[in-house]
């Protein structure tokens, strides 16, 4: 039996609080998980007998199925609970839900919630390991890890790379987790977008701020696009989709400002023609589909690392 390297945390609530060593431990584990996922026999037994609950207060296709598949490939019993079928709609509080689920003795709970800090709150009330699958505009750690894994496998090393994170950074948990992780591993992080979508204090969070794509993408190794929510497109944060795409949508003209071998990423789901042109999303420089594959591997790595710390583990 291969031993899992030591990961000194009970939960994965964010990238904040992880050391660079913790991060590379997870990425190394994920590299091994990629190999497992590419075999015909994809099943491992690491989580045999363990129960994993995916608790999604916010709709998600990609992240939820990715966690489900990751759990199943490791042999866990996976149960999905989504808000539509739960008693949250009947007025039960988050804490009550946490206590109820806890009484069912799961080993791992994967949580997505629309409010920042909600996963931390829930983690304080349960005995099992909790994984943050996205909490409001706070963090989405497994997305940052899968992005890092994708970058590392394509560029060899993250240190010294110029990564431009573009678009709606204000509302993005993906951007926050990525900024912390990429800074920890020594990349130069840039935040690019219209000023209405940039939160204050970005420089102190370790990002260089640009409001022009031309300036922000100059010399970039990685161009990471973010999704712009529909309700923010029409006059509230930006005047219109048309104007946003013209100035901030990634097309071949803007991508040409980056390095010739720059790679394009997007956490999905994409708004083609809003933040990214279709030909770029599907083009040779795009890593978007590979990100999805890495997503399963990274989540396997996280589940394995946390499971190794569970009682009787």
């Amino acid at each position: 039996m291969s031993t899992t390297p030591r990961f000194p945390h009970r939960h994965l609530l964010g990238i904040e609080g992880l050391s660079p060593h913790d991060i590379t431990t997870l990425l190394d584990l994920a590299d091994r998980a990629v190999e497992v996922s590419r075999q015909v026999e994809k099943k491992k037994t690491t989580l045999r007998g363990r129960t994993q609950i995916n608790l999604f207060f916010e709709a998600s296709t990609r992240t939820q199925s990715s966690f489900e598949l990751a759990g199943k490939r490791l042999g866990a019993d996976v149960m999905n609970m989504s808000v539509a079928s739960s008693s949250i709609k009947k007025g039960e509080t988050l804490i009550d839900t946490a206590m109820t689920l806890n009484a069912m003795r799961p080993d791992l709970i994967v949580v997505r919630h629309h409010a920042a800090g909600a996963v931390q709150l829930l983690a304080r009330k349960v005995d099992c390991s909790v994984i943050n699958a996205g909490d409001g505009a706070h963090e989405h750690p497994t997305q940052a890890l899968l992005d890092a894994l994708t970058i590392r496998r394509n560029k060899g090393d993250i240190r010294g790379l110029v990564v431009a994170i573009c678009g709606d950074i204000l509302h993005s948990r993906v951007a926050r987790s990525n900024m912390i992780l990429l800074n920890a591993l020594g990349a130069e992080v840039r935040a690019v977008g219209p000023a209405t979508l940039l939160p204050s204090g970005l420089e102190r969070m370790g990002a260089k701020v640009f409001t022009s794509m031309k300036e922000g993408l100059k010399g970039a190794d990685i161009v990471m696009m973010l999704r712009l929510q529909r309700e923010r497109m029409n006059g509230s944060f930006v005047p219109s989709v048309k104007e946003y795409f013209r100035f901030y949508g990634l097309d071949s003209e803007k991508l040409a400002y980056a390095k010739p071998d720059a790679l394009v990423m997007h956490p999905g789901p994409m708004n083609r023609g809003v933040e990214i042109a279709s030909d770029i999303a599907d083009g040779a420089q795009s890593l978007i589909r590979e990100q999805v594959e890495m997503g399963v591997a990274v989540r396997m790595a996280v589940l394995e690392a946390l499971a190794s710390n569970l009682p009787n583990g």
Partner: protein
Amino acid sequence: MTDSPPVLIRDARLVDPASGREQRGHLAVANGVIVEMGAGIDPVAVPDGARVVDANGRVLAPGLVDMRAFVGEPGAEYRETLASAGRAAAAGGVTTVVCMPETDPPVDDPAVVDFLIRRARDTAAVRMLPAAALTKGLHGAEMTEIGLLMEAGAVFFTDGTRALTDPLVMRRALTYARDFGALIVQHVEEPRLAGGVMNEGELASRLGLPGIPREAETLMLERDLRLVRLTRGRYHAAMISCADSVEIVRGAKKAGLPVTCGVSINSLALNENDIGPYRTFLKLSPPLRHEDDRTAVVAALAEGVIDVIVSDHDPQDVETKRRPFAEAANGAIGLETMLAVGLRLVHAGEIGLVPLLRAMSTRPADILGLPQGRLEVGAPADLILFDPDEPFVLDPGKLQSICKNTPFDEARLQGVVHLTTVAGRIVHEIAG
């Protein structure tokens, strides 16, 4: 109230924030008022039947006057009643409490003022004075019966946690109130800019929470002060929280406008970093700001630009607080802790004891036109005896309030109130 026996307090450190005088001495109370005070540790004669309290050198000061507390009565008695708020106030050394009008029904009718005054007289240990709504139903559209409400006993007019946003309504209210000598108290926050849940800045960005810029406060404050200049109505900004607001108020006072302002005890003692991992007991309105803002409001208090300190006592139960930060209610309890928390500033050398007590007693009493808030022969015998140095660890379970949403949970504080009197009647006492 006048039938309680005379009280004689001997060997006290008398601190009168009204005059700034401090002396070792004694003080005697009869018929609800201070009848004698002097430098001798003991008086020349002890009145017949007097209860003698040995202060052992502790501080004897006027009871605190709190211009801003939310009590759930009527309508939300599960959060706080006049009786429970009165117990909390007595234990914390607050002898006069102004209750906010955001009750159910709201205090926008003289009959509700009358109810509150009778109910408080019958059930509360301290003086509870109702503030009335500034607009009917707190809807911000039509002014209330300012004259009739004052006759009924309302001490000032405010829409509580809601800012009066309509400039026309504010202009007319200030103009109308002026001739009644009524005081208008505003929650200085432009709601359209205050859609966030904590101070805007790096920390909010890191936590992924929407921020409230300081401009939400300064914009409303500046607008209101323009209207005060136009109307000359008496205006009080309930709580300011940032350095820019201090400058605005300073300018208005220099220009001779009839303006005063307050600050929450929380804004003096805490900053945004205290929120830590999404602690909802520190979700407040105005939000806790940066440390630079905290030091600016502390300096403004010492200087007298800020007139009063309020507890902003706002009981919230588990249902409204044990939620994700953005979804939790604003507010913290404070009646019982405001003195000890204020003394933290004294111990840290940030403000003197006299200016602190002045902002918690004399100044608010003056603004409200009340005779208390001073140690003076003939003044109401609303008194507190406390040891400013005595340490304790705050145990929320021991607080008198029904709700336990204190930001000072398990905090190490100094300053224990040993005796509280209201009109000469002992309403709180701990032995020793």
